[in-house]
Symmetry: D2
Subunit: 298 residues, 4 copies
């Protein structure tokens, strides 16, 4: 399969079951809503060392936000309900409760309720007030700039983490340009985040290492500078590979994001040094979700 001169590998991305939730943060203006959202979803590229994977899903227009103010929608993914709840409490407590003019709301109505303001309310030291609107409970926690309005819970759902694809190019600027095109296209879609910095990861890994203490190490088969001294997957001329990892609420969301991202990367085409699209997997044994590139792009 070939799109605009770019070879699409006959392979698949392997992804895992996760737990996810969405939180909406609003503020006096968009700038301050994003200050809160960026802080709360920072240092969240990988569950292993960050506790969760998180990101801003999209801008929230005043007309669609719960309190008529501009805001941002955040998605959080973790490997267990317990870890997700722990990360959420910490991140909302440190980065949204603290942020000037902010408020926080459930972004998923159904699912299993997990605490949003339920525990944070105690910061009010007994001065917090509860109100019930349309069957939903909110807390008004007194803070120095006025009140922090926060919904009691948000909804937790099953989700999918680790959708991915690789872009192989003649040079770094070309791989980066294709990634930027892909990320811009994928950011339009709801229910997904690309958790790495700017949405892109360049340090793909394989399971295991020659150092026993390490569980993972550089994916040497895809590293262009050591092509001559390892069993390489890279044809001559390919000098840079970048990966886009996707977490989504459902496998259909991941599929849609992969399709949009790969299509956008391929608009640059072979004329701009984009050679090949591949994907990362573990032979299909570890993850319950398999995303076949050719099926998705077919």
């Amino acid at each position: 399969m070939n799109i605009n001169g770019v070879h699409i590998d006959d392979t698949f991305a392997e992804a895992f079951g996760m737990k996810a939730t969405r939180v909406l943060v609003t503020a006096q203006n968009l700038k301050w809503a994003y200050h809160a959202a960026n802080a709360a979803t920072g240092f969240a590229t990988s569950v292993i060392a960050c506790g969760c994977e998180a990101g801003v899903e999209r801008k929230l227009e005043p007309t669609e936000s719960p309190d008529g103010r501009p805001g941002a929608s955040m998605l959080f993914f973790a490997m267990s309900s317990k870890e997700l709840a722990k990360q959420l409490e910490r991140r909302i407590g440190q980065c949204v409760l603290t942020a000037p003019t902010s408020a926080a709301f459930a972004g998923i109505d159904g699912g299993e309720p997990i605490p949003l303001g339920k525990n944070l309310r105690f910061f009010g030291d007994g001065f917090q007030l509860s109100k019930l609107i349309g069957g939903k409970r909110y807390w008004r926690v007194p803070v120095m700039d006025g009140e922090f309005l926060v919904q009691e819970t948000t909804g937790m759902v099953k989700a999918v983490g680790g959708g991915n694809f690789l872009i192989l190019a003649d040079s770094r600027p070309q791989a980066l340009a294709a990634c930027e095109a892909a990320i811009e296209a994928m950011r339009q879609l709801p229910n997904v985040i690309m958790p790495f910095p700017g949405g892109v990861v360049r340090s793909g890994s394989k399971v295991g290492s020659k150092y026993q203490a390490l569980m993972a190490s550089t994916n040497d088969a895809f590293c262009p500078t050591i092509r001559g001294i390892t069993k390489s997957e890279l044809a001559p001329g390919i000098e840079s590979v970048m990966e886009i990892v996707i977490d989504g609420l459902t496998d259909a969301d991941i599929r849609g994001a992969m399709r949009a991202g790969i299509a956008a990367a391929c608009t640059l085409g072979a004329a701009n040094g984009i050679r090949r699209i591949s994907a990362g997997n573990y032979g299909g044994k570890l993850g319950q979700f398999h995303f076949q590139l050719r099926e998705i792009m077919g």
Copy 2:
């Protein structure tokens, strides 16, 4: 004391000894350097729940960066050397090593060396190469987009955390405008970060709580909405209070940042609803550094 109609309280900010380090990240362009730096310093508003306090200190021009590329300078603060080293390894490993086109360098030459690439190099699975330039060791770690160049260590120094001041205003938009003016002025100064979202915290806390499990709770004396039901510090008319917290490499750095920030906030003056500048302390018993507002602004 009164600046442009703004009352300066006769009080002091109380701050603590910390450990700090600086890391420089560069990339193909400024956008991607900031993607890495923002991720690495995200979720780092308070040592208690985030492990460290961190932020982007400033933009790094190509002419002053170690590899002639644009970049960003990051500062990290923690309560102990051990915690700082742990946080640094995780955050650089998850958010800079992974970021396309990035490289990472020591931002402090002296001080006590702590690992920067020293442990991250093992990700190279034996393919990493060392080089010694001008007596400093660097690692070239093969990654998919080429190589991750990272200096072996960076310098750790004693530092000061928790400098602060409070802005008391007639309304939220006015307090926020004064904070924005303060933050813009403070961002010019080297050696300091303001770790909360956008540089501002609106949920000031007191030690202790009516709930035994909580070590801290809302600073009710400065919360305008409960003025009538608690022992308030707020005169009538003050409806919003915001705080700026500062971590700096030295007490002189904090002093300079407080001076610049308070001066900028006061340019808005009483005519724009800015009424009073105060500061947070614990009676002077906990922190070894005391920053007297009137001495600083004198």
Copy 3:
């Protein structure tokens, strides 16, 4: 009429018939599309001295843009067909044709066709090529970075310029905060631009001046600093007034934008120093469109 403590004046905005067109610009990524669009719509706050009023209407997602790349939608308004055509040729020629990786497309299918690439194509010095796709003509003009793809014409329609409302507040930061809220809400809506810097104008004018050469001068009745020496419209305590001017494709578009903007400004309310909403008119004699504030907000 009163919204959240903000008085809505019983008055109307007076607006004029104009000619308008929309042009879509795409590029390799959003950043470069916006570089082109911002340049092309710069210095375009008022028809009198700028030739046209122009602005970025909204971001264009890759999935909805004509060539599958990210882009921006621009609106241009002028007092006559001739002036609009002249401004369009200059602005697209200087700021889009010149911009790296850009392409330009019609943003209005119907209406009266006016030249987009029709004259710009001659820049190709005879090397330009025409292609007809789906009944629409495009030009491929050879440029140094490859080709400038540009549609032959775009559609011109009747439109409305000069919709407006005034926000009266206790202080500048409060008026500005209300304007920011209004602009963020209005930016969601299609078919309108707010042509002044950042969407806001603070130098409202009246017709005529004590200086005979000037056709307009400061609207002294709304200037707080000269309240004591002129016939003022401002009650005591109002220290800052800002205006939002709106150009739209139809009067319904202006009406919708005014409603969204006033509603957003009023969310800040009297508690944040927002006192009154008014509007600018010339007694109803000059402009054919009258927008009654209370009818719009009713």
Copy 4:
């Protein structure tokens, strides 16, 4: 000459004498200062169709701005004193006087004085007030949000327009990446602007055209898509060329900017598809300034 595998042509850029001035705009915060500055310097890529060439020179920190507020420094270039004065009055009048919270100051103390607020003050309709501080005259013009403070004059000096260099690359994304690196490096330097959108122009022109009405047309010798049908300057493999044009206060400023920009572009090097640096000239007969690439990079 060869830098990092990039061939430096033995040629020169040809530039012209111009008139220039600098204006400083400040505002309540950086965002609004930039709204004003971006509008005032928009649609100003080329003197021929825009009247002047203009751009934001740099951010202005509160500590260095005339009124202690954040701001932006703008440079304006025109072919004559008269045209410069006309453009300045229009652009400051339409885009700075109108911008909420703004003030405008001279950015050049010496030189020949040209009106800044001198004529704009009449907008105050007789309510404007003059004040003399340190021998400089300022006007306080009453406007709706308070007062527009504007210095009476700014300084005009001789300047140089049209410094330039060309980047020749294997593909568009590579040429664009090199331009971004160059622009980021050049933006650090004082006294220069790069007036095209984002600093880059892709539609280089030659004098004359096969169409008699046109004075300039596409520089076909540097257009890759018509290489086979014209007398091309492009070696096989070069598929994209972009140009950076520089206006500066002195020829030394242009020289410095060219050096910084070319050096930054060359850091990407041949490994990233950057092949050659050239420059645009008219055989040396039209412009009084010649910038030899090899001398500058020597």
